[in-house]
Amino acid sequence: MSRRVREWKGGVRLAIIIGAMNAMQSKSTIVLDVPLRGARDYVHSSDLFAVLDGLAKIHLSPDAHLQSLVLRRMAFHKVIAHFAPHADAFGTFSLCLGQDVTEGWLVESRDAIARRVAFDETPIERAAVSRTGRVLLPAPVAGYTSFEQMIVLFKILCAQLRRGHWLLTQMNLITPFKDHLPLELATVQTVLGQLMKAELRQGRGSIGQAQMVLANAAGGFS
């Protein structure tokens, strides 16, 4: 392939990416179809991850993925993704396609969530191997996404520090999860026994970092 053709194809790909990003941003808001999970009365990060990652793949490209997710508090109602800053946002996210990043803000609506899905995390707990400061799965657990497995492993890691209700508050991925590879989490930092940062590893390499925080008795961070 000549250099000119390669540059032209690269330019077309860039134009397609920018076009997809603009199209998503022009939607301004998207109501996210998130269910409640198990017995929980709040939206679980696994469901936010799944729907936002799906959003990236549907609206941008099958190669796009959720790069970051920040959650400042729990949400109990339907969630709306905004593609412009919003003062009432309880969280933020970014979708990534190559070098291009689209940022979004998560806002809780007043509409109740009617859908509920079952969730049993015990198969992941049973498969997990826990060492001091490190938790891993020898092999991926069938029937669960990498994110779901990561959350369960992270809770096991946090329980080494202190038992309680730990919530994911931040995740930044260098590369997307690879569902065919087993996960490993290692403690990076702890703060006052209430915050833990962990490195996420798959296939011997770091794929990013995540942060969990111990919620108070009311389930929040007030």
Partner: protein
């Protein structure tokens, strides 16, 4: 002695999105409890302080850190 100034603490806080928004409305002696920040924001601030200055902050110490000026004073004492 390593002096840490409130300006340096402000610079650090400016790198934390939840604090960056509040900084223009905070004086060095404004109580964090009066700034509307939650415990998550405080934990993230302590995390960044520990990373930047390499000091471990204990539960007891954190009771005495309630303003930007307090943090600067505390770090000056710890890093002597």
């Amino acid at each position: 002695m390593s002096a840490v100034s409130p300006i340096q603490i402000r610079d650090l806080m400016g790198t934390i999105p939840s604090w960056a928004r509040m900084l223009p409305n905070m004086a060095d002696n404004t109580l964090f409890s009066e700034s509307g920040m939650d415990s998550l924001a405080l934990l993230e601030l302590i995390s960044e302080i520990q990373n930047r200055y390499g000091v471990e902050i204990s539960d007891d110490d954190v009771q005495h850190i309630s303003t930007i000026a307090d943090i600067a004073r505390y770090l000056c004492d710890r890093m002597q």
